[in-house]
Symmetry: C2
Subunit: 391 residues, 2 copies
Amino acid sequence: MSVTYAQGFEAAGVAAELKSTGAKDVALVVNTGPTKVGAGVFTTNRVFAAPIAWSREVIADGRVDAVILNSGGANAATGPEGFVDTHRTAEHTSEALQAAGRDVSATDVAVCSTGLIGVRLPMDKLLGGVDQSVAELSATGGDDAAHAIMTTDSVPKLATSDGDGWVVGGMAKGAGMLAPGMATMLCVVTTDAAIDSEVAQAALIRAVATTLNRVDSDGCMSTNDTVLLLASGASGVTPTPEEFQAALTDVCAQLSRGLVADAEGAKHDISVTVTNASSEDAAEQVARAITRSNLFKTAIFGNDPNWGRIISAAGTVPEDVAPFDATNLDVHVNGIHVCRASGVGDDRDLVDLTGREVFVVLDLHAGDAQATIWTNDLTHDYVHENSAYSS
Amino acid sequence: MSVTYAQGFEAAGVAAELKSTGAKDVALVVNTGPTKVGAGVFTTNRVFAAPIAWSREVIADGRVDAVILNSGGANAATGPEGFVDTHRTAEHTSEALQAAGRDVSATDVAVCSTGLIGVRLPMDKLLGGVDQSVAELSATGGDDAAHAIMTTDSVPKLATSDGDGWVVGGMAKGAGMLAPGMATMLCVVTTDAAIDSEVAQAALIRAVATTLNRVDSDGCMSTNDTVLLLASGASGVTPTPEEFQAALTDVCAQLSRGLVADAEGAKHDISVTVTNASSEDAAEQVARAITRSNLFKTAIFGNDPNWGRIISAAGTVPEDVAPFDATNLDVHVNGIHVCRASGVGDDRDLVDLTGREVFVVLDLHAGDAQATIWTNDLTHDYVHENSAYSS
């Protein structure tokens, strides 16, 4: 049900020939109110796409009426002309919605794009897709929209969570950042909870920090990453901030898991949990050092519980970032205590890595904080996907 | 000629059955003086091997009489027992040398190991190899020593540079850090220049900073990396610090190129030069962001001059680390100006990537500093080597 699971939203997904395959490639999500709250989190890459520049401005006032999304072209590294294209897309969306009797200003239309970098969008096709999307808007269009934003994804990512009289639903595209040949993770979450923009923005930042931002398949940050939250207030129910946070985080976590599970070329989904760190940030930094180690990721592909590569990666984190005694690290892989006090522990041959899920736990013995980062293994297929495909 | 190119050095390389293949696996380098100057640079990984802990102490007083090296076992993550093994190796080397009429104290014997992590060394075999090495010491033993430290290397890495009446020579092992399955880059450089330990240490730090430390094939820092410089003073000639620096840097640069060229599984040697940066550090950080991008490295494997992935990687460097205008970046790949002002430049199809050497130049337009990092592409063979081989 995705973005139309909550009341107060309509959506559509159409094929506008941006993709050579003829698959759906333009999606539209419209908030029908009564309120039009919007919040957003964007890539922190300094090289960002035109839609990022535009959408940041759109959400600045806490209001978003509609989101127009396209696959088949990232509109990144396209210069001032690319920004004009994005602006024109928002204007056209506004005009088409107004012609259909919906009062939406262009400055309340967020834009998201994903696909090749360094190529202008075919605007005629895209604007035709906008018109078609407006014509096909419906309260059951969420699944079509989720399909239209797919690139190398093998399945659409959908998630829902139910509150007491209100709900949250969302869609995402991306293959675990393992195939950001297509350059982007896009995510749109909607809710019919009656919340204001401050609550929405704060909750989104917190939810993303511990879910989508902890998916780190290859350490490569795209130029187009966008997470948007739209709230219609259509349920008439105002949850407590804690209740809303829990449901929103749940949806973002589901979508994150979907991204990892769909990572192209991956043979294992890996969760790296660093425990007993001096702070959550320290735990996160150590976990990221491990999930970004090509040696660790290739070892897991080879079904090798290579704890030496795990503690060696941890050792690259500076002491001021994560204080710990490097001679007193413990590692568990899928429940087997393979490294004890930074030395040989239980027999590594006891570790079963034949399944898809891999759980690594590194105990720093330096405090009581912890963090988990999700990643994938580094496989022949990853190399193939990303060498054969230009982005 | 390697470590015996300079006067005042003897070396040996023998097979002690640490390697199952029967290849040479123990090397010894002895400084016969008249002076016994030693300097060293070691891994900054907080998880470091026992020989690192020992050798750091040995060079603390600026004197090194001998270096005993082994392949076939890294003696890393081996706990206090591993340190005892390293200590015993140095003691035994000292005793064997004294029995041969050479007055060498154990505290002047540096130790280097490379091979599997988390496994104790077979000390009986290793100490037998030490005895054999002492017996075979000769002023022409440099090549044997260079062979004995090889692990996944396909060729030994040797380098020399001639001063005016003095010379520098060196050996290294490592496959461009692309196969640190074997966990280590080891490098020993010798000179017959008459220099003191302050000059030696300062020159080594500077030489390594712009050569061996700028080889960054997969961003993985080993537990055993060691670079040692030994000076015998046997030429009786004292070069100026600048002359010595130039020759030492030349040898380290040659060895660095050898490491990259021998990177297992690599199909391309890539140099990434960042120009017109605000500082050399800024240039280096941006270049490293690019050379660590798996997306960039797989693109080069696919013969794809993917400038979008280059500027996207640059964009992940924080502004306080490297100030630049992200909308005004220029990229040349093998001489073709593929990205102009962060947008499309000359036709990327003009770029010829069929050769092994790839030159990437990123112009930040933010100052006049520059830096180069050398790396390799990310290939199927890299994944194979590092998933099939346990370290």
